[in-house]
C-alpha cells in the first residue's frame, strides 16, 4: 500500500517537473493603466506559446518599491521611463533590456453625459470633486497635474482634487460617481462610449512613454523572455492600438 502510494507520488512529481521544464511561467508587474490590454495580450500569448503569465497590477511607484524590495517579478511594465531606468541603474533589471512598449494618453472623463466639454469644464469648475491618480506614484496622475497647471486652474481646484492610489482606483471613483469627473487613461474608456470625455491635447502634458524591462529574476526565465518578445510583436501592437495606446519604439 505504502509502496504504491509512493509510486503514485513520484510519478506525479515527475509529471509536474516535466511540465514545468516545458512551459514556464512569467510573473509580470504591470502599471494599472495597462490592466485591460495586458490581460488580453496575456491570453493571446498563453494560447500561442503554451507559457503562462501571471500579472500583478499596481501604480508604477508601488510596483517599483516592491521590486526594490526583492519582489518575485520577472518583467516590469511601468507607466513611465524613470522607474525602469532606475531599475536598470540600481541593478534590479537586465542592462539593455529596456524599451518603450506603449505611449499613453490621458482623458478627462465623467459618467455624466453633459459634464465634460473641454478645458472650459475645468475653468468653469462646476463640480465638487475631481479625481486624479496619486501624482507621486502614478505617471498618469503626474500628467493630470501638469495639465491642470498648464491650464492655470491647479491652484483654484487644489482642494477639490481627490487621489486614487493608482489610475484604476481613480477610474473607479469616477465610475461610481463619487467624483463627478477625473483624469483617467484613454485605455480605460476606449472600449465604451459612456458619459462624456475630453481627450487632453498632447501639448498640455509630457507624452507618457511607458517602458518595460526584463528584471534580474527573469533573466534566465524562457517564459519571461518570450513575453517581452511577444510584447514587441504585431499581435500585441494590435491590442495596444485597440486600447488607444501609441506604438512605442
Amino acid at each position: 500500500m505504502l509502496r504504491r502510494a509512493s509510486f503514485v507520488f513520484s510519478t506525479l512529481v515527475a509529471f509536474v517537473l516535466a511540465a514545468a521544464a516545458h512551459a514556464g511561467e512569467a510573473r509580470v508587474a504591470v502599471a494599472a493603466n495597462f490592466t485591460d490590454a495586458a490581460k488580453e495580450i496575456g491570453q493571446v500569448f498563453e494560447a500561442k506559446t503554451g507559457h503562462s503569465v501571471v500579472f500583478s497590477f499596481g501604480s508604477t511607484g508601488t510596483l517599483y518599491t516592491q521590486i526594490s524590495q526583492d519582489a518575485p517579478f520577472d518583467v516590469f511594465l511601468a507607466a513611465d521611463q524613470a522607474r525602469p531606468e532606475k531599475a536598470e541603474a540600481e541593478g534590479y533589471a537586465v542592462k539593455g533590456s529596456r524599451f518603450t512598449y506603449a505611449t499613453g494618453k490621458i482623458v478627462l472623463f465623467s459618467m455624466d453625459a453633459g459634464l465634460v466639454k473641454g478645458e472650459e469644464t475645468l475653468k468653469a469648475g462646476r463640480f465638487n470633486k475631481i479625481a486624479i491618480a496619486n501624482p507621486a506614484t502614478a505617471p498618469y496622475g503626474a500628467a493630470a497635474v501638469e495639465t491642470l497647471k498648464k491650464l492655470g486652474v491647479y491652484d483654484g481646484l487644489a482642494d477639490r482634487i481627490v487621489q486614487g492610489n493608482n489610475i484604476a482606483q481613480t477610474y473607479q471613483f469616477v465610475e461610481t460617481r463619487n467624483a463627478e469627473l477625473g483624469f483617467v487613461a484613454l485605455s480605460q474608456v476606449a472600449a465604451h462610449d459612456k458619459g462624456s470625455r475630453w481627450l487632453v491635447p498632447d501639448d498640455l502634458y509630457t507624452t507618457i512613454a511607458q517602458d518595460a524591462v526584463l528584471l534580474r529574476k527573469g533573466a534566465g526565465n524562457e517564459a519571461a523572455k518570450a513575453f517581452v518578445a511577444f510584447l514587441k510583436g504585431p499581435e500585441a501592437l494590435e491590442i495596444k492600438t485597440k486600447y488607444g495606446y501609441g506604438a512605442g519604439d
Binding site: G61, N128, K129, A131, N134, T137, F173, T176, R177
Partner: protein, 227 residues
C-alpha cells in the same frame, strides 16, 4: 525630501478623526451594550453578531459597501446633498462614519461585559431606594461600568488610529481632510521616502506600545480597587 508640515498634518488629522469617532462610538455603543446586557430578547445575539462583524470582515468589504452607500446613489449621497455636496466619500464625515462602524465592536464588547459583570443586585438595591430607571442607569450602572467604558474608549481610539484599508478605499488621499497617518506612511513607503516613513512608523510603534501597556496597568489597578 523631509516635509514636517506634511507629517504633522497627517498626525493632527488622525488624532481628530480618532477623537470624534471615539465620542460617536461611545454615544452609540453604551445604550447598545446596555440593551445587549439587560434584554432577554431572543434575537439580541443577532444584533450582537451584526455589531461584531467588522472584527472578522476584511476592511475591503466594509470599504466597498461604504463607497456605494456614501456615494450619490446611496444614503450618504442624500445626506451630502443637504449640505450641497454629492457624496460623503472623500470627506472627513465619511471617514467618521467608516471608523464608527469599523471600531464599534471594540467598544460594545467591553462595555457589555462591564454591564453584565455587576449583575442585577446593585440595580435592585437602587430600585428599592426608589431610584427610577434613568437614575439607576446614570448613578449606578454607568459608574460601575467605568472600567469597561475606559477600555472601550481606549480601544476604539487606538483602533481608529490604526485604520488603513477602509480609509484607502473611501478617503481619496486629501491632505488635511482624509490623508491619515496610516495612508501617509503607505505613501512614503511607495515613493521610497523611507526617512518620513520611519518617523511616522516609529511613532506609531511607540504609541501602540504605550496604549497596550497603559491598558494593562490600568486594568490591574481597577481590579485592585474593585476588590
Amino acid at each position: 525630501m523631509l516635509d514636517l508640515d506634511d507629517i504633522w498634518s497627517a498626525v493632527r488629522l488622525t488624532l481628530e478623526l480618532a477623537s470624534v469617532s471615539t465620542i460617536v462610538i461611545l454615544v452609540i455603543a453604551t445604550p447598545v451594550a446596555w440593551w445587549l446586557a439587560r434584554s432577554s430578547a431572543r434575537w439580541k445575539e443577532v444584533v450582537a453578531t451584526l455589531v461584531a462583524l467588522p472584527l472578522v470582515l476584511p476592511p475591503t468589504v466594509l470599504g466597498f459597501y461604504l463607497l456605494i452607500a456614501l456615494g450619490p446613489g446611496g444614503p450618504g449621497g442624500w445626506i451630502a446633498s443637504l449640505g450641497g455636496g454629492r457624496s460623503l466619500a472623500f470627506t472627513f464625515e465619511g471617514l467618521v462614519i467608516g471608523s464608527t462602524l469599523y471600531s464599534m465592536p471594540f467598544a460594545v464588547q467591553p462595555i457589555r461585559n462591564a454591564f453584565e459583570a455587576f449583575g442585577d443586585r446593585p440595580l435592585e438595591v437602587a430600585a428599592t431606594l426608589r431610584a427610577g430607571p434613568w437614575d439607576r442607569f446614570w448613578s449606578v450602572a454607568l459608574p460601575l461600568a467605568r472600567p469597561g467604558l475606559m477600555t472601550g474608549a481606549v480601544l476604539s481610539f487606538a483602533h481608529t488610529v490604526g485604520e488603513f484599508g477602509v480609509v484607502l478605499m473611501i478617503g481619496g488621499n486629501i491632505p488635511g481632510e482624509t490623508k491619515v497617518l496610516s495612508v501617509a506612511i503607505y505613501d512614503y513607503v511607495e515613493t521610497l521616502d523611507f526617512t518620513s516613513a520611519h518617523i511616522l512608523a516609529g511613532g506609531m510603534l511607540l504609541f501602540s506600545f504605550l496604549v497596550i501597556f497603559s491598558m494593562t496597568v490600568l486594568e490591574r489597578r481597577m481590579r485592585r480597587i474593585g476588590r
